[in-house]
């Protein structure tokens, strides 16, 4: 069952000479964990903003083609209506937190929905628990680390109980440990709650193991779409220049030397296991 479907989606920002995305046709199914990647400027960020209606409602410009999100036609629904189904977590942790305490930020979307206070309280506590930040409830955002701030942003979006959560390079400003924590949180949301995840990410080394679908964009178009292991070993991916996981690269190099590890590893653990088999069986 598809939750996001686009057909020949093309968009140009106002006064732009060229479109930022061209003829993008993708389908994302319920429960998918999709990694959206590609070189800077390939249109990933613009595409994300189409998914929650910022394009075209906030940015205006010219949007063509079909796009349906959670069964809603993006053209015909306002951003706040789409917000009931799609949440967007942005790159900069600092600039998406407005309140003076964590719980007020998490409640923000619910306050906008005019939810009654009792229900809101329960939702806020639930979201804080799922994001693993219960101990930060009353803290002001300025005192938190980047990683903690991003988890607050995730909780704020989660509280609105969307079907889909989109994260636009959420770990850019975080150190590897902070990044890992974020991926674990969203992976849990995907597995436990069935929330569809669209993750825009360059650090495929860390994120690849969670995904069941990878979309690679280049110059505004979708260049590749499919299962992670296929994409990472494709020549096209290498030419476009995405950060293919080292484990996969090692697999390819070994293959070029005539050594076939049978399955394609994406993580060091998988690679080590395959190598151990190869080394002890040889």
């Amino acid at each position: 069952m598809s939750v996001i479907e686009t057909n020949n989606l093309t968009y140009s920002y106002p006064n732009a000479k060229n479109p930022s995305i061209k003829n993008v046709s993708i389908t994302i199914n319920k429960g998918d964990f999709v990694i959206l990647t590609g070189p800077s400027g390939c249109g990933k960020t613009t595409l994300c903003r189409c998914f929650n209606g910022l394009v075209p409602h906030f940015y205006n410009g010219t949007l063509e083609g079909k796009i349906t999100v959670a069964g809603l036609d993006v053209y015909k629904n306002q951003i706040h209506e789409l917000a009931r189904h799609v949440g967007l977590v942005f790159q900069n942790p600092e600039n998406q937190l407005f309140a003076l305490s964590v719980e007020k930020d998490v409640a923000f979307g619910l306050e906008n929905f005019a939810m009654p206070r009792k229900e809101m309280r329960k939702r806020v506590d639930w979201a804080l628990k799922k994001a693993g930040i219960c101990e930060l409830t009353e803290r002001p955002p300025h005192e938190l680390s980047g990683g903690q701030q991003q988890r607050v942003a995730i909780a704020s979006v989660l509280a609105m109980q969307p079907d889909i959560i989109i994260l636009d390079e959420p770990t850019s400003f975080l150190d590897p440990l902070g990044a890992e924590k974020i991926f674990e949180v969203i992976s849990n949301l995907n597995k436990e709650l069935g929330i569809t995840i669209v993750l825009v990410e360059h650090r495929l080394d860390l994120a690849a193991k969670y995904a069941n679908h990878v979309v690679v964009m280049n110059n505004g178009e979708v260049a590749l779409s499919g299962a992670p292991r296929e994409i990472f070993t494709s020549e096209k991916a290498r030419l476009i220049g995405i950060g293919i996981p080292k484990a996969t690269k090692l697999y390819q190099h070994l293959k070029n030397h005539g050594i076939d590890l049978k399955t394609i590893p994406v993580t060091p653990q998988e690679a080590a296991k395959l190598l151990r088999e190869a080394l002890t069986n040889a």
Binding site: S172, D175, D205, G241, H253, A278
Partner: protein
């Protein structure tokens, strides 16, 4: 040459960020300072150009204590590229931006023009010379900021988290560029938590935690010490992780590069069969 002798630094809030740092960086060295956010990396490098002065201890740049010269004078020899280019860019054109530092240091007009030209070419931003820096993309702004620091040809170049927000190709280019700088006898200090980037460049690595130096050595020798790295909240590079898991099979663990890894494994597997 940079010398740090028993450096202690406390912020005005009372927080002790550096607790007894001893370090010598020789001319032409390539050094990566690694550690978790908050370990004191940026605090340390801010002492190299005098932005911060020691609470206790000494920092010497070419034999002169940083307490005895102004930041402006130190900046002539120690260029500092900040993490966010938007904290520096303010001029009407890219040209003006690059000329800013040169003007501050009192260079002659003819020299300024020559250096600006050189810097524009070096960072591949010639086509933007008359463009406003605010009109450029994120990656281009980073290049302009870098060009504006290199323009006055400092002996030491410090880069604070240069790989943040960069895609794969941009990181590769940055790698080559930094290695090039180092090949031109510049002392390069990179503050980063990107262990893959460090693995690709293979510099001297200083690992910091809680304001102290935990480890100091070449990348290959340090990055396989999983326990100490964990203390600094750093994970070993992906390739090293693979070899650490296979340690019991007699494989070396000081492997950080894919090509080296392939060679070792091919040899071993061919030997066995």
């Amino acid at each position: 040459m940079l010398e740090v002798k028993d450096l202690y630094y406390s912020y005005s809030t009372g927080f002790e960020a550096l607790k007894g740092i001893n370090l010598t960086v020789n001319d032409g060295e390539f050094l990566a300072i690694m550690g978790q956010n908050g370990a004191g990396k940026t605090t340390l490098v801010k002492h190299f150009n005098g932005l911060l002065k020691p609470t206790q201890g000494q920092v010497l740049v070419d034999g002169v204590s940083t307490c005895d010269i102004s930041v402006a004078k130190l900046a002539r020899d120690v260029g500092f590229v900040f993490q966010n280019p938007d904290h520096q860019l303010f001029s009407e054109t890219v040209e003006d931006e690059i000329a800013f530092g040169l003007k501050n240091f009192g260079f002659e007009e003819s020299v300024i023009q020559k250096q600006v030209e050189w810097a524009l070419n070096l960072l591949d931003v010639v086509q933007y010379r008359k463009t406003s820096p605010f009109m450029l993309s994120g990656g281009e702004r980073k290049r302009v900021a870098l060009a504006s620091i290199l323009a006055w040809d400092p002996k030491v170049v410090i880069l604070d988290e240069p790989t943040i927000g960069q895609d794969h190709r941009q990181k590769e280019k940055l790698q080559h560029f930094i290695l090039q700088l180092n090949a031109q006898k510049k002392t390069v200090v990179v503050v980063t938590h990107d262990v893959e980037f460090v693995a690709e460049c293979n510099p001297r690595v200083i690992l910091m935690r809680g304001g102290q130096i935990l480890l100091d050595g070449m990348a290959e020798q340090i990055l396989n010490n999983a326990d100490l790295l964990a203390q600094a909240s750093i994970v070993p590079p992906q390739i090293t992780k693979i070899f650490l898991e296979l340690e019991d099979l007699g494989l070396p663990t000081d492997v950080i590069d894919v090509h080296e890894a392939t060679e070792i494994l091919v040899k071993r597997l061919n030997k066995q069969s």
